[in-house]
């Protein structure tokens, strides 16, 4: 089908805001902050996407979902570019999305608590005596404990609530 007009990029951003993340479908790819730029280069729409984690297996699916969504809105010529810098940070997850995460059962990231690998001052924390409180997304209790820094997807850690006894995911800071 021949394309007759180029939709405004504001409109394109709106369409992208309806593309769910394949692993956490309650938030969109724009909520996550991984769509960095949308521009027209002549007749080609260029969407710049940054990966959350280098090896996130969802990256390929995300690119495909973006492409399919744009095609369904009549855009034929699409190029998806990968951009590494600046590296993605969980700080880019917007406020609405954090609420959606909580409602879905995933504790949203607590900004400024990313691991920095500077161990010497962190030995107490490393030994399991965490100084960070993650509230249970189900019952709101802060009586929780970390099970593992790694969870069901690269972007999450595993926690457990000691009051309602439910395990839950925490969207960790990076």
């Amino acid at each position: 089908m021949e394309q007759t007009s180029k939709p405004d990029t504001v409109e394109v951003w709106r369409w992208l805001s309806e593309v769910p993340d394949p692993e956490i479908p309650v938030i969109s790819v724009t909520d996550l902050g991984i769509v960095r730029q949308v521009t027209w280069e002549d007749d080609t729409l260029v969407v710049t996407v940054t990966p959350t984690y280098s090896g996130c297996p969802a990256t390929g699916v995300i690119n495909l979902d973006i492409e399919n969504a744009l095609r369904s809105h009549g855009i034929d010529r699409i190029r998806i570019e990968r951009q590494l810098s600046p590296a993605w940070t969980s700080d880019w997850i917007n406020a609405d999305a954090r609420e959606k995460l909580r409602a879905y059962g995933i504790a949203p990231p607590i900004d400024g608590t990313a691991a920095d690998g500077r161990l010497l001052g962190r030995v107490a924390r490393l030994s399991g005596r965490s100084n960070m409180t993650v509230a249970c997304p189900r019952c709101g209790s802060t009586n929780t404990e970390k099970i593992s820094q790694f969870g069901s997807t690269p972007c999450k850690a595993s926690y457990r609530c000691k009051d309602c006894l439910e395990p839950f995911d925490y969207f960790k800071c990076i």
């Binding site: 280098s54 090896g55 810098s85 993605w88 399991g128 790694f150």
Partner: protein, 260 residues
Amino acid sequence: MATAVDQSAFFDWLQRIGDNALVLGHRVSEWCGHSPVLEEDIALANQALDLIGQCQLWLGLAGEVEGKGRSADDLAYLRDAADFRNVLLVERPNGDFGQTLMRQFLFDAFHINLLRALKTSTDKRVVDIAAKAEKEVAYHLERSADLVIRLGDGTAESHRRMEKALKALWAYTGEMFHDDAVDVAMAEAGIAPLPSSLRTAWEATVKAVLSEATLPCPETVWQHGITGAGGGKKGVHSEHLGFILAEMQFLQRAYPGAVW
């Protein structure tokens, strides 16, 4: 003032950093479905993913620098053992869970400092990959250090195993910090730090964690891969790498060009 970059040395160096991530990523992935508990299985698989993702970035850049049209996949699946440039430490067998974690910790403590130093590389592409990888590796180091402490300062059995792992792996740590002609060329071009310059920070981290883990830091011992003709950075590997490649490369060797 940075001197002109020797592209063949740069290619070699990129394979070193990429192959470290690839081979360790593969080793760690061997645990998938076999870990002592589910949470550790998930953690190991996620770290393997991070490392293989980083390897794709490094080997992708290596192919670009080489300029012969080879992709990251071509380099990962179609080179033979003598063309791999990873250090011997990362190809050491997994052993038990303690040995896997000790190997991870000894490498993570080196890896984080290397990536941190690469953030001031004169090559923007190196800076971008390092900045991304550093954030992931910070979590790897937290986890491996945490578990080395918990297992070292754990039961008599876990302590014994961690001490055994440390002794077995210690002779493979020196290669990470040994400077050769490729390293000197990279340092002179401002692309990468001299490996020897990373040793002090590594020792500080390792000593602090081992002390917390109640594990005695080994004495100076003879190191593999530095003297003589051997050494992973030169492409002279232990017998273990061939078995890794046999598994990792089988599909592309048997069915060239196969895709999902």
